[in-house]
Symmetry: C2
Subunit: 434 residues, 2 copies
Amino acid sequence: MNAVEIIAKKRDGGKLSRGEIGVFINLYVSGKIPDYQMSAFLMAVFFRGMDFEETGWLTEIMLDSGEKVTFQKPDNIYVDKHSTGGVGDKVSLILAPLAASCGIKVPMLSGRGLGYTGGTLDKLESIPGFRTDLSLKEFQDGVERVGCVISGQTASIAPADRLMYALRDVTGTVESIPLICGSILSKKFAAGPRGIVFDVKCGNGAFMKNEVSAEVLAENLIAVGKGMGRKVTALITDMNQPLGETVGNLLELVEAMDFLKGKQAPDLYGIILELSAEMLIVSGLRSDYDEAKILIKSKLEDGSAWSKFEEMVSYQRGDLSIFAKTSDLPQAAIVDTCKSSRSGWLTGMATEEIGRLIVELGGGRKTKESGIDRLVGFKFFKKIGDEIKSGEPLAEVHAGTREQAGMAIDRLKSIITIGPEPPEIPALIYRRLS
Amino acid sequence: MNAVEIIAKKRDGGKLSRGEIGVFINLYVSGKIPDYQMSAFLMAVFFRGMDFEETGWLTEIMLDSGEKVTFQKPDNIYVDKHSTGGVGDKVSLILAPLAASCGIKVPMLSGRGLGYTGGTLDKLESIPGFRTDLSLKEFQDGVERVGCVISGQTASIAPADRLMYALRDVTGTVESIPLICGSILSKKFAAGPRGIVFDVKCGNGAFMKNEVSAEVLAENLIAVGKGMGRKVTALITDMNQPLGETVGNLLELVEAMDFLKGKQAPDLYGIILELSAEMLIVSGLRSDYDEAKILIKSKLEDGSAWSKFEEMVSYQRGDLSIFAKTSDLPQAAIVDTCKSSRSGWLTGMATEEIGRLIVELGGGRKTKESGIDRLVGFKFFKKIGDEIKSGEPLAEVHAGTREQAGMAIDRLKSIITIGPEPPEIPALIYRRLS
């Protein structure tokens, strides 16, 4: 079968064989199928979809197009977590060392922020010297020795995904469940985990705006991951307001560190507890959620999780000394306060807009090549459902210039809506799927 | 709006504006939108379609991407005919001079055979010296002076279509009604006709295999053509067996010339009469079909149509002297007969297979660059519904070698099906649409 016949088969709703998907992807990676045939194929997949089996083959072929980590010990304790991306989502920074302190090995290959969602690597690079460019060997050694490593995907991992993702981005074929699944899973499984807990974000600050689409993605990730012989579960969690108190690279890093040291925003605490309990269940280290949570709380309280974070940072050559005294911390040129111009209840936050505002302030990337300003960001004082008095501070704005701070304060006033009645407070966790 | 946004708008089922289509096509033609974005766009159009208005804009933008003929006299007598392609379809060779002899001006820019359907230019080039590469100026002058010209599309005509068609061919996006419409109409209208009669072929030897799909194409061609201010009608005609008696370039040319001189296969005569009557109605030269047919028959009988053919050939530098004596005519090396191995009734012909067999014999193109052997072909002695005796000749096979002739005879025996009962004879013309 040639390339056009494979495109036409998918276009007409046919189920592709493993061989057909393999030929198409591998010839594309080797440059023998041109971009224009791949983009037509991607659009056909966008419209026709792929079943779980096809998606699994796609994922395996993408995974096998590059290098991957293979851990030596054949047990289940290599467990990763993956979030589909949100605003203020600093969960990975906390969860990796916390889970490692509970005995899980967390091989976490992470990405940078693009668009309105932040990236774990960008946050970690606020630590002077912190290396996110570990070789796969350094990555693997670190996971075995420290228990957790968070590093960037190397160029040798899933080149098929890298090429296809770049093409999807410019051909309107990003929003396809099987393509999203293949992209996520091929990169995640390249790091060698035996299990993954997915945090599928849902709401106005997530790619999945409603629960139905979040569930479809979660079901696909689970079915395909299981089909590939991995343990996979998913939580669908709320992203209708930033998670925790802060948004912005340095501010989020500091919040994550504070969390590990015991200062915990309630929503972030709730999410961390559930996700880390899931990881313990997936790993087989605990078989009961209550027992899992007892272990997790003890590792937070006795400082083990924080020590594990320090250990990971040290392994990755980061220097935490600037974080020892608040006065040593770098800070944006302007820190100003956004105050409410009316009284009422906080009824909603246009969360995606908060992420886009960070990009405008220079704290996120407009293109993959953009540099970023890690100091800009927001600290929010209120959550949905809180009562607000006119003149009360809603958020602290960290910006590079007075003009930008002013612009951000103006924009936040329309991003944060205040109504006359208390709203329904969104659930933190919508569903668990496995 | 940028390229990705336009792709995504169509992908999501949105109606594109004239400006959006214009930007996309024009930037593509100028190389600023790459093939991979165009192919994603084409696949999105394949799935989402375009309404008549969008298709009209698409057609106009493709038409305006190149040169076009503009006739000076603002009347309706410039009328062309276009067939969607079939096997043994030599109608254009007859219709152009016949219509011209009735007073119509026929500006016919035609194509070459590709795939299993023959091409009018290939047939005409069986005439020594015949030029199918007229400049647009020569083309326009010939239409005014002779009344009809059949020449090839120049590179300057609708470059957008040429680029897009090449891409559609390799990305599984050929079979899309709005894209087919845009491609046909942009090229046809570049020749300057005020009206077009479409012969939409329907059956096992046509692109449109069933009447529903043929009707959809005809309705689209008519609606878009009318939207562009042209007079357009269509006949849906049968293509479940070759039209007339012959298939193959030289054989079809000779049949067409014989037709103009008075030797007419009944099915071909029926089609020619209806299509030429349509052209007379569209041109306004006649307002009544019966009157139109009286004029057409007189022009066939008094030799005017044949004279017009000679005049056209002469204008295009062709030399008809080899056609004066049958013994002077070049002939394929082997002429053999395919005889029926059983008695019964001719119940069907796998018409597309006949076209593919011609290609295998060297009489059609496998790729656009292939040379062709104009001498190979078939002369069929029987039509669907004819009674057949065992041993009776079914067809004459003209081939380059004895092996090829033998192969063709074998294949024809399975292409022509003979059953024990007389079949239903397909109608010649299914429907008229306007």
